[in-house]
């Protein structure tokens, strides 16, 4: 198989990588870049544990070939905090007990972050709708929704 | 097929009467926290359940001149919250704090705990280190059973089938007032101990005057670590001495492999816990 050279900007850093045509963005992030915050959940685009932001929009890294990410800006969960300072939505998840096993959390947080950028004042229904692709087996979702609600403009 | 009958008794005399009548069929029930699982798992059957739960006359903690007296129906919660126990038998208080969980402690009694005689019984290890005496009564009379002679095997005690524990005596002395208890379990609550240790030392001019060390869950009954005790007495009480003598505990125990831990692990950790307990008791 011919390998391809790609260039992707990950969390603000330009990275040059050599990948196979069928390499998934998810695996390149986890294995080549050793950014393991992005999780391999189902691998078939169902659970959204692999969510990253591409050009600021949430995408499923298990459904994107690495070669298709060439030239793009990727934010993984590791890129959300500013050094030690957590993003508001990250802090909210902690404060509201929205993290149990933590596996869905990176995907949930990034998707929520994207929602709040698009719509700074979402209703509960809007939150639930936007997060409908992200699965959680632990929390029953209530705490997650509350966490995101607490970040809405009206609650600041 | 479960076959039980149930009798309420109004007072101690009643209880002794029923025990005398029912003999081997007798099964005293107070907190019921052991009896109920045994019934469920058919570990006991064909018994007369003698309800002594409400005999307030057997629930007390009293201070006498040379000893303290604990009624058998004293709950583990009572032990945990007693100033007398804290002062004269702190190992027992610490055991009460580690016992099951707060809800169970409302029901479970010290009498039930030792009469059931699990090798892991949390109050048994401290009582053994405290040189307690069990007072048992039947219609025929009263007798005192030193705790070292009380536990005979797994779930076996020196009690006759018609006997009721009426008092547990704990002598007042420096070693007992310095006593402490350490329990290692797979959880910090609701755990059957992997190893438990109770230790009480009395020091005189920096030397060990008395040393009592007992362990649970390392033999069919709780045991005294006689080798460790002998190696301590008369010596200068230093961290070095504690380190040396704690290792000797392997001579005094015969732990088995079970679902909670291997015998090998228990041997290793027993020495560590004995060391910690001795240091805590001797305040070094």
């Amino acid at each position: 198989m011919t390998k391809h050279e790609i260039e992707i900007t990950v969390n603000g850093r330009k990275r040059r990588l050599t990948v196979k045509p069928n390499d998934l963005l998810l695996n390149v992030i986890r294995e080549d870049l050793v950014l393991t915050g992005t999780k391999y959940g189902c691998g078939i685009g169902e659970c959204a544990a692999c969510t990253v932001l591409m050009e600021g929009k949430p995408v499923l890294a298990c459904m994107i070939l690495a070669v298709a990410a060439h030239g793009k800006n990727i934010t993984t969960i590791e890129g959300l905090a500013d050094g030690d300072k957590l993003a508001p939505v990250q802090q909210a998840f902690i404060d509201h007990g929205a993290i149990q096993c933590g596996f869905c959390t990176p995907g949930m947080v990034l998707t929520s972050h994207a929602l709040l950028n698009e719509n700074p004042d979402p209703s509960e229904e809007e939150i639930r709708d936007y997060l409908r692709g992200n699965y959680c087996r632990c929390t029953g979702y209530t705490a997650i929704v509350k966490a995101v609600q607490s970040c809405a403009k009206k609650n600041q | 097929m479960k076959n039980f009958s149930f009798v309420n008794v109004e007072n101690k005399a009643d209880a002794l009467e029923v025990l005398h009548r029912e003999k081997e069929k007798s099964c005293l029930v107070a907190g019921a926290t052991n009896v109920m699982p045994f019934i469920r798992y058919e570990k006991i059957n064909d018994k007369t359940l003698i309800n002594i739960r409400n005999l307030q006359e057997l629930r007390f903690i009293r201070e006498e001149e040379d000893k303290i007296e604990i009624g058998p129906l004293t709950t583990i919660y009572d032990l945990e919250n007693s100033e007398i126990i804290e002062k004269y038998a702190p190992a027992l208080r610490e055991a009460a704090q580690d016992f099951a969980d707060p809800t169970t402690r409302n029901s479970a009694t010290i009498g039930g705990n030792i009469a059931n005689a699990s090798p892991a019984a949390d109050t048994a290890t401290p009582l053994l280190a405290l040189n307690a005496v069990v007072v048992a009564e039947s219609k025929s009379g009263v007798r005192k059973i030193p705790i070292q002679e009380f536990f005979l095997g797994v779930n076996k005690t020196a009690l006759q089938c018609d006997e009721l524990i009426t008092v547990i005596e704990v002598p007042k002395n420096a070693a007992n007032s310095n006593s402490c208890f350490i329990k290692l379990g797979l959880r910090n609550a609701m755990a059957i101990s992997v190893v438990s240790v109770a230790a009480g030392v009395e020091l005189a001019e920096g030397k060990v005057a008395h040393a009592n060390v007992a362990l649970g869950s390392v033999a069919p009954t709780p045991v005294r670590a006689k080798t460790v005790e002998a190696a301590l007495v008369g010596k200068e009480f230093t961290p070095g001495l504690v380190e040396e003598t704690a290792k000797l505990v392997t001579e005094d125990i015969s732990p088995i492999d079970d679902v909670r831990a291997s015998g090998e692990y228990r041997k290793t950790v027993a020495a560590v816990l004995v060391k910690r307990a001795l240091k805590k008791s001797g305040k070094i």
Partner: protein, 157 residues
Amino acid sequence: MSEINITVTVNGTKINANVKPEMNLLKFLRSQGFYDVKCGCEMGDCGTCTVIFNGSSVKSCITLAAQADGGTVWTNKGLGEVDELTQKLQKAFVEHGSIQCGFCTPGMIIAGKAYIEKGGKPDRNEIKKAISGNLCRCTGYKKIVDAIYDVAEQMSK
């Protein structure tokens, strides 16, 4: 194996019934329609069957029904109708998202009530000890501790 006739006051109502000598209080309560008392493990480990019996919290699965003769039992539901502390706890559990499947909830609330009544302070470690006999498979416990902490804080003011 003759049955015993017992009279137990449950949630303020006198109940008279015949029970087998070895019947546990849990089974008795559920047989009398008090379904908010759950049967989890029936061996004293999970705590979902916790009720107030003669003023103290007990695990009803390891208490003899016959021992309750002449006594009083309060369940979470009954207390929720008359007891201010229970009502505060129930409200806090709802607000903090402490209820997922709900199966452990009655026992947790009674354990929380017992803790606060005994002078329990807003202290996370002490609250965890207070509920150490109650198992929850859903919430990861944090939200339950939050709820009890919240009420303990309210009561300490």
